[in-house]
Symmetry: C2
Subunit: 121 residues, 2 copies
């Protein structure tokens, strides 16, 4: 059990790669991850779980097949399981993701954006 809190800005300062989530904490079998995003990600879905996006700095858009939802710093959104989505950021955006341990960033889509899983920072 750590003696100090987890500082989100301090953790964000430790990496610069885009679309490469870093785990900062675990709660039961869930993980809290930080990521920096820029540009258009791949369309994908997660069949078995919802996924939470919380924007820490900057802004991004969650594109769905039937709508787009804009998120700015201090805003969050729950992507329901099975729903195709594509995160897009026109300038760099820092986010926190909350989802079960083992979720892969590209879900069912795979491809070049698939990041190593369970990398801590």
């Amino acid at each position: 059990m750590p003696d100090t809190a987890i500082n989100l800005q301090e953790k964000l300062a430790r990496f610069s790669e885009h679309w490469s989530p870093r785990v900062i904490a675990e709660m039961n079998d869930y993980q809290f991850k930080l990521a920096k995003v820029l540009g258009e990600f791949v369309w994908h879905s997660h069949a078995d779980t919802d996924e939470v996006f919380i924007v820490l700095a900057g802004e991004m858009v969650l594109e769905f097949r039937d709508r787009s939802v804009a998120l700015a710093a201090g805003e969050m959104y729950v992507v329901p399981r099975g729903v195709e989505h594509r995160p897009v950021a026109s300038s760099e955006c820092s986010i926190m993701l909350v989802e079960p341990r083992g979720v892969v960033n590209t879900g069912d889509a795979g491809g070049a954006y698939t990041a190593p899983n369970d990398i801590w920072v």
Copy 2:
């Protein structure tokens, strides 16, 4: 599925009671709750689950029987299941809690600070 993001400041502005968590989102069987805290809460623990504290504004201390952990805005901490803790804030502090649906704020302790559960804002 909502058309807009959840804005944390907008949700915080909707209530003023202390120690009375309000649900703002669900992910699988977990809930994201906002709370405003001030003063000393009761010592308690949650036997069956970890509990995440994220400070959104202000600062607070998580007291444990063997240590104290200070949290400021932009910091988080995971209280492990079964560990006695007491949140304390010397001035008003706004936090987000993440924990399974059904967790009661006072855990095993009960008493006057026990808040109604599953109240959305």
